[in-house]
């Protein structure tokens, strides 16, 4: 199955404030970004919608049953070692069954859990300072306790004012102004513990926290520049994984997690008789997984995984449903590997049961969904790999879809949203020497269809919406990725990558509707990215580009709701210096060099040109 990966080097070049800033460089993705450091960010892959992409941190899902996908802006890219996008599901076994329950997986790993170094203390400290009041200091410590145990801790604080300029274009009422109520202060910290046992078993534990307080600037509204909504997050999770190889052919993986997500949304200007909104939600989840893989003979391997999650959401809202969801996932994977062929087949059983304290609960769901992936190499040493995959999966209605208070209870009859994915692709990958050390190229054509898509429909008026399973979407596209690097001499190296997507995502819900066979909202026909960097001794410089073709803000593709194409180009230069006890790197960046004025979401203006200086100290 197609996999795209950004390694630490690429992540450092991008130097994004959040993971979303890095994930933009993948092909086939749409990052929804409401602008500014504090703007909410989500990732949708191949037009299936954000809620069909699962997030995985160090092997365990980051779930949010309330919204369906966590805000990607909560996750800093600073301490991430690699960021990976897996279509369908990851191929290695054993992995938890829940990783099979999404149409695609965005996973990222921390440095600590990828170490083999149990001997040396390491530390790092740095700061990013940039336009619009950005200050982002961070520090990390990596401490081997003994030969078999490492403890690491890292923390990052982000402050940003987000007061970037933009213009409102409306005839005699046009004006140049700055974004207000767009500030954020956030803290992210984690502690990781790795224990390695004599029998080579490994036990990884992570405690992760995130606190933030931010303004929500809202969409730009003509004649009304007031924005006072605030959002507060307090998140904590503790997760643990135990991996043991009983023999070369038998591996056990046990995972467990507790997470608590608290969200407070305040709107002092909301005109209810309570004199404002102050909604508070607390979501708690307990999760456990056992996965076992077994090789069978020379060619076959089998894996069984069984997961369970208990999710509870409470809120300070009267009449709130207070739902509890019990989810069970059981997954059987069969792999076959022989010279030319790799086959990976999975069957997932999902069983979901909701209970509520007020009002009716959603229907129970019990479904079997398969996936199949084939890989073929003409010769074992061939640079070519041909592949095909098929995956049938669904997403559950989220708690917000089902139990949002201001929505009538019609929506509790909501069904899951189904997607089918078909992909055929080819990869060419060749390693060489000197100038072109690596060249890889991949091309995938895909077809997806979505049925029973969950769509918000205004019911009585614009302010009362219901969720309905009415949408049907047909998606076809081409993803193209290429990556190359090499060195001209021992002191001069280069690296480059490009990603390009062509995509048609047509609404085929209702032949009599104006939207019929129109491109779904916010989906450009073409989009892509490019990155290149040169390293010369201690110097490095690079360029990156993100572009998007024009899009429509509404399902009816009328010129009046077309949003123009845009591109942003960034450049940087950095220098490393080595001292006797430490090294330092100084980096200067210009983001959106040509000061492109653009919206990703209409009337949520994005920042124009900005500058950033970063200094990193570490002990090599």
């Amino acid at each position: 199955m197609p996999v795209q990966r950004l390694n630490q080097e690429a992540l450092q070049q991008i130097n994004a404030e959040t993971l979303a800033g890095a994930a933009k460089y993948f092909s086939g993705v749409l990052i929804k970004d409401y602008g500014g450091i504090g703007g909410l960010q989500s990732i949708s892959v191949r037009s299936l919608g954000a809620l069909n992409t699962g997030l995985v941190y160090d092997g365990i899902s980051i779930a949010d049953a309330q919204t369906g996908q966590s805000d990607l802006g909560k996750f800093s890219a600073t301490f991430v070692q690699s960021l990976e996008l897996d279509l369908a599901n990851p191929q290695q076994i054993p992995i938890p069954a829940r990783l099979f329950a999404s149409a695609s997986i965005l996973s990222f790993t921390s440095n600590t859990f990828n170490t083999n170094d149990f001997s040396r203390k390491k530390w790092i400290a740095g700061i990013n300072a940039g336009s619009f009041g950005l200050w982002q200091p961070y520090a990390g410590l990596y401490l081997p306790v003994n030969k078999n145990m490492v403890v690491s801790a890292n923390a990052e604080v982000t402050w940003a004012k987000g007061d970037y300029p933009y213009s409102i274009d409306n005839g005699i009422f046009s004006q140049k102004t700055v974004r207000s109520n767009s500030d954020i202060q956030a803290f992210q910290g984690e502690i990781n513990i790795v224990n390695r046992f004599k029998d080579s078993a490994e036990w990884q534990t992570k405690v992760w926290t995130y606190f933030s307080e931010r303004g929500l600037p809202g969409s730009v509204i003509f004649f009304n520049d007031n924005a006072a909504q605030r959002l507060q997050d307090k998140d904590l999770f503790v997760q643990s994984r135990y991996l043991k190889k009983y023999s070369p052919s038998t591996t056990l993986l046990v995972s467990a997690k507790y997470s608590s997500l608290y969200t407070q949304y305040q709107d002092p200007n909301f005109l209810n008789n309570a004199g404002g909104l102050n909604d508070q939600y607390t979501q708690n989840e307990l999760y456990a997984s056992v996965a076992l893989s077994q090789r069978l003979g020379n060619y076959f391997a089998l894996s069984l995984a069984s997961d369970m999650a208990l999710t509870h959401l409470r809120a300070n809202i009267s009449q709130f449903a207070t739902p509890t969801r019990i989810s069970l996932w059981n997954c059987l994977v069969l792999q076959f590997n022989k010279t030319h062929w790799q086959v990976n087949a999975s069957l997932l059983n999902t069983n979901i049961n909701d209970q509520t304290q007020a009002g009716p609960a959603a229907m129970n769901i019990n479904k079997f969904t398969p996936s199949l992936a084939l890989g073929y190499k003409p010769r074992p040493q061939s640079p070519f790999l041909f592949r095909f995959f098929y995956k049938d999966i669904f997403r559950m209605p989220t708690f917000n879809d089902l139990y949002y208070t201001y929505i009538s209870n019609i929506n509790r009859k909501l069904l899951p949203e189904y997607s089918n994915q078909y992909d055929a692709g080819i990869t060419y990958s060749k390693t060489g020497k000197s100038v072109l050390s690596l060249f890889s190229f991949s091309l995938d054509g895909y077809y997806n269809d979505i049925k029973d898509k969950i769509v918000a429909v205004p019911s009585q008026n614009l302010f009362i919406w219901t969720m309905q399973n009415i949408g049907k979407v047909h998606i076809q596209g081409i993803d193209l990725n290429a990556e190359a690097n090499g060195k001209f001499s021992s002191s001069l190296k280069w690296t480059a990558r490009v990603a390009y997507t062509w995509q048609q995502a047509l609404d085929v819900t209702d032949p009599s509707a104006a939207e019929y066979k129109n491109q779904i909202p916010y989906t450009p026909n073409q989009s892509g990215s490019a990155m290149a960097a040169i390293y010369y001794n201690s110097w490095s410089t690079g360029y990156s580009l993100i572009f998007s073709g024009n899009r429509y803000t509404l399902g009816e593709n009328d010129p009046s709701n077309q949003l123009p194409a845009w591109n942003t180009q960034d450049v940087y230069i950095s220098r490393q210096a080595h001292f006797s006890y430490f090294a330092t790197t100084i980096k200067a960046e210009i983001e959106n060099l040509f000061n492109e004025q653009y919206d990703i979401i209409h009337y949520y203006p994005m920042p124009g040109r900005s500058y950033k200086i970063s200094i990193i100290f570490n002990n090599l």
């Binding site: 409306n170 005839g171 005699i172 009422f173 046009s174 809202g218 969409s219 730009v220 509204i221 003509f222 004649f223 009304n224 007031n226 006072a228 200007n269 909301f270 005109l271 209810n272 008789n273 309570a274 009267s318 009449q319 009002g359 009538s408 209870n409 429909v457 205004p458 019911s459 009585q460 614009l462 302010f463 009362i464 509707a513 104006a514 939207e515 803000t553 509404l554 399902g555 009816e556 009328d558 010129p559 009046s560 709701n561 209409h602 009337y603």
Partner: protein
């Protein structure tokens, strides 16, 4: 000035008759020739795409975004209501928090009237004209009195929670207090004395009152939406001589208008696409559908009756996210013509332009 006031008199009369649902089908002073209609398209919340369509009767052509084409700027976000009064067109832009005032014939922009309280949007919602004034209900619990000469707000009259639609009967203005965005819905109609411009009393109707219409026999009809759960929707009739509810029926009604001893209604949130015709006496259905020629309207939204002809204009909001259209029916329920408002979204209000 004289010319204006004479003109104003004619238009005042015209506006009073249709927009207050106060029946007066045969005006004593014949109106000037009605040459077309303005249609307010609400647009999508947050999308700054409120538009005004002008439909010309003689050419049978519609021109959408007429306001922007005339004035070079867009109206803003979520137009909720409009009225013609005294030669001026008043357009309420809810989420932009202001009322745009324009020439009633040309839509040429004249002024803005802000609805901000210390910078915070009051949420102007509905508009009605009476006794030389224009009244605007706002979500913040007030009804503003606009002086039509100075185009400034003369007074805010405090009413119930989240007031919305209004009707005039006799010397009183009636305002539905919805409580629509509060933890508990309101269930009253505020009564405003048009002489003193103060709230004189509140009438308890049903939970979450919305659309309101007055007849010429001293009654008002109020559609109550309920709470979308345990309390269902209802339609009530109030006798204004006693301010008592005299009839209640369980019926989901979105908009309600009175004309010539009939009530025309759109379906409520329960999703019926039927346009109803009711007997005002007992609120029973005169027939299953007002429309008798089989015309299908996907989602009846705006509902207005031409006071001079009894023609019924029904805005079809379709799915609320694509272009709507407006149907004109004669008073017997047969389609006369169809007005395209594309790309205008959610046509919510029709007013008549008289030269």
């Amino acid at each position: 000035m004289k010319k204006i006031s004479g003109y104003l008199f004619a238009v005042v009369f015209l506006v009073l008759t249709y927009s207050c649902q106060k029946d007066n089908p045969a005006p004593v002073v014949p109106p000037k020739v009605t040459t077309g209609v303005f249609i307010l398209n609400q647009g999508l919340y947050g999308a700054n795409n409120t538009t005004l369509t002008y439909y010309d009767f003689s050419s049978q052509q519609s021109s959408t975004d007429f306001f922007k084409n005339t004035n070079g700027f867009g109206l803003g976000d979520t137009g909720s209501d409009m009225v013609i009064y005294g030669g001026k067109l008043y357009i309420v832009i809810n989420n932009s928090g202001y009322v745009a005032v324009a020439n009633a014939l040309t839509a040429k922009f004249l002024d803005t009237i802000g609805f901000k309280n210390a910078g915070v949007n009051r949420g102007p919602e509905n508009i009605i004209a009476a006794v030389g004034k224009v009244f605007v209900s706002s979500t913040d619990g007030t009804v503003a009195v606009i002086d039509t000469m100075t185009l400034s707000i003369q007074k805010f009259i405090p009413v119930g929670t989240n007031p919305a639609q209004m009707a005039v009967s006799g010397t009183h203005l009636y305002v539905s207090n919805t409580g629509g965005i509060s933890a508990s819905y309101d269930s009253t109609v505020s009564v405003i004395d048009l002489n003193s411009l103060t709230e004189s009393t509140r009438i308890k109707v049903g939970l979450n009152p919305g659309s309101i219409a007055a007849d010429e026999a001293n009654n008002i009809y109020v559609s109550c939406t309920g709470n979308y759960g345990s309390v269902g929707p209802s339609l009530v009739k109030v006798d204004l001589s006693t301010n008592q509810v005299i009839k209640t029926v369980d019926s989901a009604v979105g908009a309600i208008r009175y004309y010539n001893n009939t009530l025309i209604t759109t379906g409520g949130y329960l999703g019926t696409s039927t346009v109803g015709i009711l007997n005002p006496t007992d609120l029973s259905a005169i027939r299953t559908s007002f429309i008798i020629d089989g015309t299908h309207i996907q989602n009846p939204y705006g509902l207005d009756i031409d006071p001079s002809t009894g023609d019924v204009y029904i805005g079809d909001a379709k799915d609320y996210v694509s272009a709507g259209q407006v149907y004109c029916f004669d008073k017997t329920g047969n389609k006369k013509f169809l007005i395209s408002v594309s790309p205008g979204i959610s046509p919510i209000r029709t007013v008549w332009v008289a030269q």
